[in-house]
């Protein structure tokens, strides 16, 4: 990674979004059918791996990785399958945007981590929209603001 406080902040934001995703998936799975729960479990495993990789990296560059909050305020109540699928997509969109913002601050192995974290989150958001019966492809530039 190119040293610099802005770049560290981007990585910390990516870490926070991974923490939040892990929390959210704990609330999502219970509202889904078997196939959806399996998907949610796989997503949780992937997010945990990315979180751990970010923690290790931030430790290596002496930038204290923030721990997860005890709880997160969900953007809307999650009471059924429809709202659970909405939250899953919402969470993945957030992770997508955060990893996207990391790309320019990275090189070598860390850029590869960023590409994978970014692509995987964008794909999962697409998949959740598909499962929810929505138009799966929303943009040619996943995670781009606006």
């Amino acid at each position: 990674m190119t040293a610099g406080p802005d770049n560290v902040e981007r990585l910390r934001s990516a870490l926070m979004s991974e923490h939040a995703a892990l929390y959210a998936y704990g609330r999502i799975g219970v509202h889904l059918n078997d196939a959806g729960r399996a998907e949610a479990r796989a997503a949780e495993v992937a997010h945990r791996g990315r979180r751990d990789a970010l923690v290790v990296h931030l430790d290596q560059v002496k930038a204290s990785p923030a721990p997860a909050d005890a709880g997160y305020t969900l953007p809307f109540p999650v009471i059924d399958e429809t709202s659970a699928l909405m939250l899953a997509e919402y969470v993945e969109n957030g992770v997508t945007a955060n990893w996207r913002s990391v790309l320019a601050a990275t090189e070598n192995e860390l850029r590869r981590l960023a590409i994978d974290g970014y692509s995987d989150a964008a794909v999962r958001a697409t998949r959740w929209r598909k499962i929810a019966g929505q138009s799966p492809l929303r943009t040619a530039f996943p995670g781009r603001p606006g």
Binding site: R100, S119, L137, P142
Partner: protein, 140 residues
Amino acid sequence: MLRSVFTAAAAAPALAACDLLDSEPPPPPPPDQLTEFYGQTAALIQTYETAIAATPAAAILVTVRDAHKAHLAALAAIMKPAPSGSPVPASPSTPRGEVRQAEQQARLAAIEACMTAPPNRATLLGEIAAARACHLEVLP
């Protein structure tokens, strides 16, 4: 005086001719590092055009093709010099109409391009790689 004017006037064309002979046109700028990737993207669009012509009802192919067109325009906007409009032909190993295979190859090419890109280009190339991964999620 007259002589000096005449001499100067007579010498001028000779100097001009000499300048013309000596001044070679500047070499063309080297192609942008994204030239090959740009050509591959243009070829990918052609693959989709072929598939759409064969299956006009496949709306998802149109959506994905349009995303690739947006990527092509975004690439052209950052390339110096701007692409000439004569993209590299499609790789013979990419059969026309095999959109899924072409998309998979294109995704890997975008990852490779992103990995070697300078910071100011990494985001766009990452966006293209991520978009192509999403396309694979929805393609039949």
